[in-house]
């Protein structure tokens, strides 16, 4: 598929201005390739259900899932469930990311603070996510605060670890350049340390967001009456597999969209990074 689109692109370059054809087709070809696998999965799913290879009360046909979601969205219920889950992930992510970034930076920059904080944080990392649930319910009640706290815990660890390790692995030679050019402490942090760790930070943020989506399910399983996680529990209780699968698909789509938003927002700060992607894009733009 990619090769066919690349060929079309090359042929179009003869007829249209390069800037019109090149980027557009390149982006389009990549996006189209990305949806090939989901289409294949849907086709297999459809075939399995119409041939009744798998019983429909275990795996309903795609049309039934779509009907279930359309039915829920007709009175706005689905939208409010999506919104509440999104807001939980958003607040949990922001809170977890801010705390992780502050702690990641200070433990990365200062060996003393690293010795003070890191052993405890590493020990807490080993605690399974569900082990926090009873404590958070006790501390924050069964409503929003405990759910956001749980999501924050999930978001925290990958961001903290990536950032702290990123700062520690900054090339000593770069710090020497800062010294020889008489940069003070804050200038060194601003011009050398922080920009140098942006790739690790972005990786941490993306992993943190993915864990945020995983933890929101755990959070919504602990006594929620709204949200996509609640829809799944509701589907299980009322024997509606279409609802469970519909909620699963929505989790996947919204999770992918939020990850893409994060990646696109970070892209301008990663222009300097040489990667296979950058090289392919530059080659394509040339």
């Amino acid at each position: 598929m990619y090769l066919i689109l690349k060929n079309i692109n090359l042929k179009l370059q003869d007829k249209f201005p390069k800037y019109l054809s090149c980027n557009l087709i390149y982006q389009l070809s990549h996006n189209i390739i990305g949806i090939v696998l989901p289409i294949i999965i849907i086709i297999i799913w459809y075939l399995l259900t119409i041939t009744e290879t798998v019983r429909n009360n275990l795996l309903p046909p795609p049309q039934e899932v779509i009907d279930e979601l359309l039915n829920l969205s007709s009175d706005g219920t689905l939208f409010s469930h999506i919104l509440i889950t999104l807001s939980r992930v958003f607040y949990g992510f922001v809170f977890g990311a801010v705390v992780a970034t502050i702690l990641g930076v200070i433990t990365g920059v200062s060996p003393t603070l690293r010795s003070f904080f890191d052993p405890t944080i590493q020990a807490l990392k080993a605690v399974p996510s569900l082990a926090w649930v009873p404590l958070f319910i006790l501390w924050f009640g069964i409503f929003e605060d405990s759910k956001i706290a749980l999501i924050s815990v999930g978001v925290f660890f990958p961001i903290y670890l990536n950032l702290m390790m990123g700062i520690r692995q900054i090339d000593k030679k770069m710090i020497e350049v800062a010294h020889i050019n008489n940069l003070n402490y804050f200038q060194t942090v601003r011009w050398v340390l922080l920009p140098g760790i942006i790739p690790e930070w972005v990786t941490g943020l993306r992993s943190g967001l993915a864990l945020g989506w995983m933890f929101v399910i755990a959070a919504e399983l602990m006594g929620a009456s709204e949200g996509l996680g609640y829809l799944m529990i509701d589907g299980q209780m009322t024997g509606r597999p279409a609802l469970i699968i519909g909620a699963l698909i929505l989790f996947a789509i919204i999770g992918k969209i939020t990850d893409e938003i994060l990646y696109i927002s970070a892209k301008p700060f990663l222009k300097w990074k040489v990667s296979l992607n950058t090289m392919q894009e530059e080659e394509n733009n040339a």
């Binding site: 030679k173 770069m174 020497e176 350049v177 800062a178 010294h179 020889i180 050019n181 008489n182 940069l183 200038q187 011009w191 050398v192 920009p195 140098g196 942006i198 222009k271 300097w272 990074k273 040489v274």
Partner: protein, 252 residues
């Protein structure tokens, strides 16, 4: 101008003290180009780092005019073997690192001016990964020169370059030296480079236990000729490997 007084340096290695430099004394004149040559491990780069203020001497001191150097200052700039450009900053911002405390207008004026001097006037927006080895090293030189230092320290800055780029950069550095009237102290492994560029050459010997090391200084007479260069090269080789009684000014 630059006075190196009784400088010694020892590094600790598994509780053992290893002497790298022993009682180095030297006076570098204003607008002089001095090269430091010698076998690997004889302390050339360490001496340069002590002059820059990046490293502290175990004993003795280095003075610029009458001031003892204790830490890096804007009067002394250094170019390393690798260009050490920040990959996340474009060429303009990499050079800006040396003059962060200046106003934006001054920075722009100085950087554009320096880029012109090193022949990279249109490269300000490029990323380090888009530069060739020679271009990257010229940016590193621009970053050192933009702060208008009195002394420029070069730590084997041409060693990783191909011979064509190297020759080109030699000329470039010499042009900059004569137009900016700065003092240059350069570490090199290349004897031809040392004789071709310097006014004087300091040949450093590895300190040997219970033996006073003989560090030789060789003055290159001007104007140079290729015939003379060959003679100097032979003399320096003899000094490095201690093969002959050398006719150079010896100092301990």
């Amino acid at each position: 101008m630059l006075k190196i007084h009784n400088v010694s340096k020892a590094f600790k290695n598994n509780d053992k003290s290893v002497n790298v430099l022993e009682n180095i004394n030297l006076f570098v004149e204003k607008q002089e180009i001095l090269s430091l040559v010698g076998q690997s491990g004889c302390g050339k780069s360490t001496l340069l780092r002590i002059i820059s203020g990046l490293e502290k001497a175990s004993s003795g001191h280095v003075k610029l005019y009458d001031e003892i150097i204790t830490k890096p200052s804007s009067s002394i700039a250094m170019v390393f073997q690798d260009p050490r450009l920040m990959p996340w900053l474009n060429v303009f911002d990499n050079i800006k690192l040396s003059i962060l405390n200046d106003s934006k207008e001054t920075q722009k004026f100085k950087i554009n001016n320096t880029l012109k001097k090193v022949g990279l006037e249109n490269a300000g927006d490029l990323w380090p990964r888009q530069l060739s080895g020679g271009m990257a090293q010229r940016v590193a030189i621009a970053r050192a020169l933009v702060q208008e230092p009195k002394v420029l320290l070069l730590d084997e800055p041409f060693s990783a370059l191909d011979s064509f780029t190297k020759t080109n950069l030699h000329e470039h550095v010499k042009d900059l030296w004569s137009s900016l009237k700065i003092t240059i102290v350069m570490v090199t492994h290349d004897i031809n480079e040392a004789t071709g560029m310097s006014d004087r050459i300091l040949v450093l010997q590895k300190p040997v236990k219970n033996k006073v090391s003989r560090n030789e200084i060789i003055k290159i007479n001007q104007p140079r000729s290729s015939y003379k260069n060959d003679e100097y090269n032979e003399l320096i080789k003899n000094c490095i490997f201690n093969t002959n009684n050398v006719q150079a000014a010896a100092f301990t």
